[in-house]
Amino acid sequence: MIAFIKRYEGLWLFVHSPAAIVAAIVATLIILGAVFAPWLALVNPYDLASFSLFDGLLPPVWEEGANPRYLLGTDDQGRDMISSILYGARLSLVIGLSALTIAAVLGVGLGLAAGYYGGRFDAIVMRIADVQLALPAILTALLIDGIARGILPAAVQQDLRVAVLTLAIALSLWVNFARTARASTFVQMNKEYVQAAIMMGQRPSRIMFVHILPNILGPLLVIMTVDLASAILLEATLSFLGIGLPADSPSLGTLIRIGMQFLLSGEWWILWIPTLLLVALVVSINILGDFLRDVFNPRLR
């Protein structure tokens, strides 16, 4: 009985947490919409021939002057808003998730190793982390962006925008993972199962990744959700500062930046529809993160 409760504890808590359920549904819908955007969207915002400026600035269907073809209206380029936000969410999620993956692999790897080996290696990793912390996310992103502009030939810059942005966001997130992984590893290093493995003479890599890693996944998972939310927001902020993605391959952040121009001009939908979607996505992810935190820290319940 107790075993049963423990095994399905997360599930049980989930079923009894309305906020988590709503968040999961919203996040799933957005993610599904993003994944299946090519099939769901009316037009492909990347395909310039599929829309026309002629249809520009149409309002959503419930407003006067709308075209029923475009349920949520069109932007100043004549792009269908629904299609734009689906593709935008797709790109935002791709960037967020890739940045997160890079940050997690880098951060967890370094954090684990620092926690495992300790001593000088740990000191070096933590000093690098200090330097990274001294250059907050926005600055890191600006720096990476600047360097990429400087060293990459102009021809590939456009194609590598997404990669550069992803790398910039990843670099600003890895410290979080490294610090958490390191702290958790320190705790695990004192656990006897790790000492048993060391005594046996197992390879350090096996001890780190087979033994310790599964035991520190909980807090890392929490960071992942929180950082996914930050990554998506950071991308939006960078777009606002003008170093995000170009307007012809819009992420949610870029769509919001474009929409900001129409804040006062009456075409409210160009700003608020992507903003609402972004907020819904980020809030959902954050709620799920909170939920996971509770699952992994039963004392906080």
């Binding site: 409760i5 000492q195 048993a196 003479g201 197992q202 035991n215």
Partner: protein, 567 residues
């Protein structure tokens, strides 16, 4: 006078209410020390929490009555209940390291508590606090009261805790395992203090403990609990001397005596023992097949371990901390060497040095007839890594909670290259589980699905699957209840006899070592105080330290109670 009648406490859970305690009746008179004893899960702490009104959320009192003097504790509003706390009922927690606010001076904490319940000036409160500390045995109290908790040693801290508990002259103090975290010497002092307070100040104590020895030493009356229910209650001499309830009797049987050695403990019933023991035959054969030649002994010569101390200056090298100081001992092949010492004596460091986790700064270690390289100098493939195995103290952390039992057990088999075939490994691992008294189907489960005792069996199985010749048991039973301890000790004895293992048995508990060891070494501050045949050390201790240890260990001398009960 505290009267508990028909008390039941429930914890709502997703599967309905979980009843933590039920049908609990108890009376504690002023000046009486009432022992509340039981194994983990008995609900003894819940009784204490219910009395002081600090049940962990969402627990609640389902029914029953609690009265202190004329006050019905259950009818109090939260504010009234809070006013009663400290004023009339107080509490002492287990760990003095964690029960004082680290950021406030002792003085502030005392004055604040006194002023919370009495309208006195700060100066008066301070005077009272100083007097109290003096009374409780803290010398130079007027000065030391300005100190922070971390500036006191463990025993002194527990005295401060007690001072805090009694500074408002409560009628009742609930002492929840007040000595469990303390070394024997300090434990004895604290228990004496409690006795004195009960006698001089007529304070009633509810002494919650798992240690029957402690009960035997100080309690006037005792209540035995198991799984939330009272098994037996009465005068201490009567309950311990002539237990009426079978559970009490079984409990008494499981307590290792200090003054003589018994071969096997009588164990009431073994957890999950209802299966064919013969399943373990395969593992037994495999183990025996691997044992070649005579058992392996271990000799340590002039071993030193020094750690870098905390650095306090840029220019001075930090003072090294000497964990082991010139330790020499020999574990005879096929024997059990007991190693006793209080916390901080260097017991675990010694185990770590032998297993290569810690590098000795000086000295030699010889396993069988080979010198063991120390620390990182020991190759990952050094044969000793297989020959020497260890059973750890904490069964909750010694098994990787994210690995299935099968994976845990098969790891040594493939790692040391004993069995190449995966199916065979699984079969052997299952058989080994049977050998240590576990259901073989445990192999597909995760560690958290087992109790502490079962996990310790699994830990033993893992050690055996490496075909060790030398086994280190570092406090293998100190995290376990006494009845489970008995089972594990029985198991270790059986295995040692069967496979001719050499064992280094480390414990702070003198009674356990007495039961297990052929030879005994007494360690203190990294130095060996005394070493010899167990019988000699216990019967005819030479070192003063050994003598005091033996004298201070609370023991339950059944015979004496039996006599007393007959009086």
């Amino acid at each position: 006078m505290l009267t508990i009648t028909d008390l039941a406490v429930k914890f709502p859970s997703r599967f309905g209410d979980f009843t933590a305690i039920e049908d609990v009746d108890m009376v504690i008179k002023p000046g009486e020390i009432h022992g509340l004893v039981g194994e983990s899960g008995a609900g003894k702490s819940t009784v204490g929490a219910a009395v002081i009104g600090l049940l962990q959320s969402p627990g609640y009192i389902a029914h029953g009555s609690l009265t202190l003097g004329d006050t019905d504790l259950r009818t109090l509003t939260p504010e009234q209940a809070h006013a009663v706390r400290g004023d009339r009922i107080s509490m002492i927690f287990q760990d003095p390291q964690t029960s004082l606010n680290p950021l406030m001076t002792i003085e502030d904490q005392l004055i604040e508590t006194i002023q919370a319940h009495a309208d006195v000036s700060t100066a008066a409160a301070r005077q009272r606090a100083v007097d109290l500390l003096e009374e409780i045995g803290i010398k130079n109290a007027a000065e030391r009261i300005k100190a922070y908790p971390h500036q006191f040693s463990g025993g002194m801290r527990q005295r401060v805790v007690i001072a805090l508990a009694i500074c408002t002259d409560p009628e009742l103090i609930i002492a929840d395992e007040p000595t469990t975290a303390l070394d024997v010497a300090v434990q004895s002092q604290v228990l004496k203090l409690i006795q004195r307070l009960a006698k001089d100040r007529k304070i009633a104590f509810m002494l919650i403990t798992h240690d029957i020895g402690v009960i035997a030493q100080v309690a006037d009356r005792v209540t035995v609990m198991r799984k939330g229910r009272v098994m037996e209650t009465g005068e201490t001499a009567q309950v311990l001397g002539a237990p009426r309830h079978p559970y009490t009797r079984a409990l008494m049987d499981a307590v290792p005596p200090l003054d003589y050695r018994i071969d096997r403990f009588r164990v009431p019933q073994e957890e999950g023992a209802d299966f064919e023991r013969s399943l373990g035959q395969k593992a037994e054969d495999w183990l025996l097949a691997g044992v070649q030649g005579a058992p392996t002994g271990l000799t340590l010569q002039n071993l030193y371990v020094r750690f870098a101390g905390p650095r306090t200056s840029l220019f001075r090298k930090p003072e090294p901390y000497v964990a082991l100081n010139d330790v020499s001992l020999t574990v005879r092949p096929g024997s059990i060497m007991g190693l006793v010492g209080e916390s901080g004596s260097g017991k675990s460091t010694l185990a770590k040095a032998i297993t290569g986790l810690v590098k000795p700064s000086d000295g030699t270690m010889i396993l069988g007839d080979e010198v063991l390289p120390g620390g990182k100098a020991r190759d990952r493939h050094h044969p000793s890594r297989q020959l020497v195995q260890m059973v750890f103290q904490d069964p909750y952390s010694s098994l990787n909670s994210r690995h299935r039992i099968g994976a845990v057990l098969e790891e040594p088999l493939w790692f040391y290259g004993f069995v190449k075939d995966a199916d065979q490994r699984k079969e052997l691992a299952a058989s080994m589980l049977a050998l240590v008294g576990m259901q073989p189907d445990a192999i597909d489960k995760y560690p958290h699905q087992f109790s502490g005792g079962q996990r310790q069996r699994i830990a033993v199985a893992r050690a055996l699957l490496a075909r060790p010749r030398f086994l280190i048991c570092d406090e293998p039973t100190s995290a376990l209840d006494v009845s489970i301890q008995a089972e594990i000790l029985n198991l270790l004895k059986d295995l040692q006899a069967k496979f001719g293992l050499t064992i280094l048995f480390i414990s702070h508990n003198l009674t356990v070592v007495r039961q297990m060891a052929d030879d005994t070494a007494v360690l203190r501050n990294g130095k060996i105080e005394e070493i010899g045949k167990t019988e000699d050390v216990y019967e005819r201790p030479q070192a003063a330290y050994t003598k005091s240890l033996l004298a201070l260990t609370p023991v339950m001398q059944r015979a004496s109670f039996a006599v007393a009960a007959h009086d």
